[in-house]
Symmetry: D3
Subunit: 286 residues, 6 copies
């Protein structure tokens, strides 16, 4: 009995946060360990369904890089990189699309639905959601985002569905392109004028000094992000995440968050606690 | 950190219940200690707001007998009773209406709104919600329910408001009547084809033997209720509550519950646990 | 037969006025003798129902000062005044709310409904309609209007209901405040961008010289109102009425009228005659 | 002042009738002297506009026989009749359509609009409102009603327009037919499930003995109508009117009225008095 | 088989044009030979129905001058002209309205409906669509357009109907006026912010030199139109057509076209071919 | 010029068919050569877009067997069959989903969108569209259809999107299953109460004697289908197609068609010609 009373108390403590986000839009970039560890996978999808039920328009963008490499390997394709970007020939592009829009996308949809949500899997090609353009010819089917048409997202959200988006897009000729999933999340958040963009990563957040775990930044401005990218304090996979935050904020999103997806229910912790977790990025200067 | 993780776990455990009641209608009879103790008052109104935010169409009916007697006392009126029913002359009726529709109703509205809900106080006279007829001339302005016009409740619920109803009604000439609040809750639940009617009381539930606290009935059928009223196993204030359950179930409500309003967050405990609390009344025979 | 023909003629003469106000919003401050004399009460409520049926969005704000004093008297409370304003301690506030939101409000609703309207009684606390702030601590629960949220009025009007509003409001902590009913009417009219505000009073209108009944002003500008308040040509109960007119006009209302509620069907006379009755207040200078 | 008070009293006396017909549908057959006398014309169109403003869905069907004959005369065409029905060759049909759908229809529209209504003139050919079939080849373009598609009427009524219908229809090949206007009114009323059908005529109503003006029947049943047609107590122009009443009642219309259009504001008198005027036809047997 | 394959190919070639005009508004001035020759009449009405079915909001304005003269002749009226404009006395005006709004309008409606459309015939008097003012007293009932209220057109288009408009209008007193049909089409197109105005004429288009059939202008600017009217290169019936194009373009219409209605299916040819036919008028200077 | 006139003529000939199918629902099973040959692919997707633009709610279900086998081959998996059904272990299921829901589905979407449609790719897992159950444990992830929830299809169709469905479904635990695409098309058509189901195949239709190409059946009843399956006159891939027709017709679909997808624009030929092509299946007995 005591335990159930405790349960009621927790629900009531959630009330101010539920009120705060009721009717708001949150875009979630789902990636990293949270997409691999079965326990985390189940936890994240339950979080997403809960957010939808308590009145938040939830939109999910997922990645899937490791599974693409794994499938290329099985098919005997050798990845080739230029400046850290995967050279994507047509055959690679087919594998990317199959893995992302076929296997991973539908697996997330099934997990969402098993938890009682109504997930609908999309790629950027569906409903012309994302229009891409080739970055450069050397990289092949690697694309940048030219335009976002969020109509299909508005329709699905309004009708109670949770859109799950694979980071593939067509150019104007209908050719497929591989797009960085963080960038997709940032642009989708901007196009929806979302209230929050949350990126699930495999680190605690952004560090002032990446080598010193005591320097986690709980707050950083879009301005500062340019500096730390420029001076090399961040590198690798963190750069597109920071870029996604900046493009979301510039597009009118109120808050962007880089949080640790390895923590169980990190999404709920971000939304249902005052202090939040990870690093919050805000517009302008601090 | 551990604590917040625990918090997330509780929210997720609530998910199946949230799904189960999403879009459903619950009518709550609010009365007894839960209307007097300040801590309970705050807890109940927060529960009600939470239920609304997670997608339940919540409708509240309240009583207020003790406060009526108190005000009569202050005004030097002596209560008179016939077979346990208060003789209600015109002056008494005015006091009843002032206390119930004026003071108590608006106080509940204010508590609901302070917790972030959008409460709207009504009596059965507003929007012709309840049409009454006089029970008998000896009792004066004591009424029975002749008809319920739930239009105003549908309009308010659909637009995100929480209707809070005082148990007063007009007859067809516009004269006010005092109606038993349990009966009002039962008839409103029936008119709304609610999924649940919950009556907050000052006992743990219905007992097979009222003198033996180990005989709490967790489940009882509408059929059995007739028997226990007839053989005198229940008495006093429990009778209109049981009658309310029966009329709700006969009107198409799925489940009716008599629960202990003295338990903090008893509403949430009823809804968010498998076993529920108190006594559940179901249709037909067990 | 001749009589019924005369009747038809009158209806047809009303047509241009019906056209003029079709779909418009009129806020009526209901007070004074029109709330006490039974014949006037019935006439006013019939007028209100008629206006609703011919396509006017009618919203009613009522007062009730004399009945509050009467009830205080019965409860042995002595009114205390500072600069003509009633000192309102908590007990007085409870009485005010009981009398206004409980008894008077619901009696008007019942009269409206008996005439075939669908009245819904509200106080400023319902649906957070009016947010108050304390005027000063000495006066206790006497409030000024901080904000008006007219959502609940739009919802009710659109669905065919007539909102009847008691002049009570909550502050942000949910505490009740007594608000001047004329001020409530003025602010509600402004929040609704009403086409007309009509205040029913116990005088023929505004007089250039209050002691000379031949100096009734049929038209006055908001500018002039400041002067006559300042130079003392008006006083007492007329001041808040004039203030209500000014705040309505400043909020975008087209016309405000101070009319004699002691005249039977004065509302209809104001609306259905070219010259109107009483004093009309318009924006700017004459 | 007394006069305006009298005016208010009349408006209030109209209230119960306004309530009774609010949201209802009334089909009016407009013909006879009321279409010729300028004063009556203006009165009828004002009545129609008033009915629309007070919430009645008003639909008008008009005739125009005398003007057709007049135009034929001017064009040197000799009318020919078989059993009292005009033989309608193609040239005659063109004249009928020009006069009814061109001149008369648009004149009524203009009068309606001048009184503040929003009239829209239609013939049965517009929006496939009425599908006709030839009565017999000898009579030429004289048609019977095969089907009514009231979609266009619902659309116009809902949007605040008053449909004004000329009694012309197309057969399935698109050929025009002249249809009896009373029959059109009866069938339109049935298709709309109207609450009332009112036929304006040049007599006081139906008489038990046409030669004895003291035998006006204020009430008659559809059953009885068959008898009086059969036994010859009525004849000439009254027969199609009675047939229209019968087909309206059989189609679900509640009441049909044959009234004297020579009386100024006869429409209002019918609707706004308890006893009504003329003859009321009801279903079944008396 | 080959033939049906060819048919499929043609439909597919139409696809880009269907996409381009989907949901757009096209106003068609229907006049000249296309209103007289039975084959052309049937072709034009089928074109109009097809355009509606493929998603174009189609609105038709028709003329009818020759038939008016013919009817005047039959009635023994002698046309009188001042500067080429018909002096329109009241009797002439009646004939104009009968012929245009009665006969021709309804005949077009019937043809549209026979082809499966849902035509609704209107004049500018219906729903107050066009408000006219007298041009000068000498010409009598010849009007200019003072205002256009396109509400009725929006309602009908949205509900799937095709409005067919006769060029008659009322002034504010309800008096009828004869309006130039080209002008009506231009103003209606402007009021609807149409995407295209198409005028069907009896010439191939506008010629640089009217006497030299090799000088057809496929494109002309609104600026140039003023010059060619001024220097007399165009004259007669072409002038109001050019004026209609200019007023449409000034009102926000994208393109105006003067095409040869003598060519079968000229409407489809204009819309479904890249080069179009006739003369296209665009805004500004070339 | 003659050519464009011919074009107009063809469009007009299509009009009766456009009218007939306006607002109707057509489910298309897309498979066979029409999915492989680039010219046919482009033709089919253009047909689909055209059908949508002319007002048909078009829903597409696709297969993709050959590409699955090809990918299995590349991954070194040997197909194993029991009674002609592919044994589908988990790894095979992953490949099926990647190829069907990832590569093929999105390629069709891109082709649709390139032709101006708004395709949205789904699998039966999205929005819980199709609920599967395992056929038997030996076959592994081969499923039968347990239920269809067409909500997501209604939402997308109403908003102008074309749903493109890959034949994969989840069971109630969220596990993926491979479903026969013909069966999916049949059940979707039944759930939508479609007006037509069209299956594109690589044969001319159903033959009375499969070895005699002169015995093509243009019409067959659902009754007869049972006989020809039973007596072995049809076999192999034709059986599920015939079963799909039967389950569609039993579910309320009006007509089912088995047509030759190798014919360019076969969809348009079926819909836009009186005789249609291939074999039409109707309910009941011939």
């Amino acid at each position: 009995m005591e335990e159930v009373a405790e349960k009621a108390r927790v629900l009531i403590e959630a009330l101010p946060y539920i009120r705060m986000f009721y009717g708001k839009t949150v875009v979630i970039k789902y990636g990293g360990s949270a997409m691999i560890d079965p326990g985390l996978k189940e936890a994240v999808t339950k979080d997403i369904v809960l957010l939808k039920y308590i009145g938040i328009n939830t939109v999910v963008v997922h990645g899937g890089g490791p599974e693409v490499s794994h499938m290329m390997d099985r098919l005997g394709k050798k990845p080739r990189f230029i400046n850290g970007l995967r050279v994507t020939d047509q055959e690679t592009m087919e594998i990317v699309e199959m893995v992302l829009a076929g296997r991973i996308n539908k697996e997330i949809v099934a997990l969402i639905n098993k938890s009682g949500g109504k997930g609908v899997g999309l790629s950027g090609r569906d409903g012309n959601l994302i229009v891409a353009r080739q970055r450069n010819s050397e990289l092949g089917f690697v694309g940048d985002i030219k335009a976002v048409n969020p109509d299909i997202l508005h329709v699905l959200s309004r009708e109670g569905f949770i859109p799950i988006i694979a980071p593939i897009a067509s150019d104007e000729e209908g050719r497929p392109y591989n797009i960085n999933a963080d960038h997709v999340a940032g642009h989708i958040a901007a196009a929806l004028k979302a209230d929050k963009l949350i990126l699930l990563t495999d680190v605690e957040g952004v560090f002032a000094d990446p080598d010193d775990k005591t320097t986690l930044l709980s707050l950083i401005s879009a301005e500062d992000i340019r500096d730390i990218i420029h001076d090399g304090s961040v590198s690798g996979g963190m750069i597109p995440k920071l870029e996604a935050c900046v493009s979301a904020l510039e597009g009118g999103v109120s808050r962007a968050h880089i949080i640790d997806g390895r923590v169980v229910h990190s999404l709920l912790l971000e939304i249902f606690t005052n202090e939040g977790i990870g690093t919050m990025v805000v517009k302008g200067q601090l």
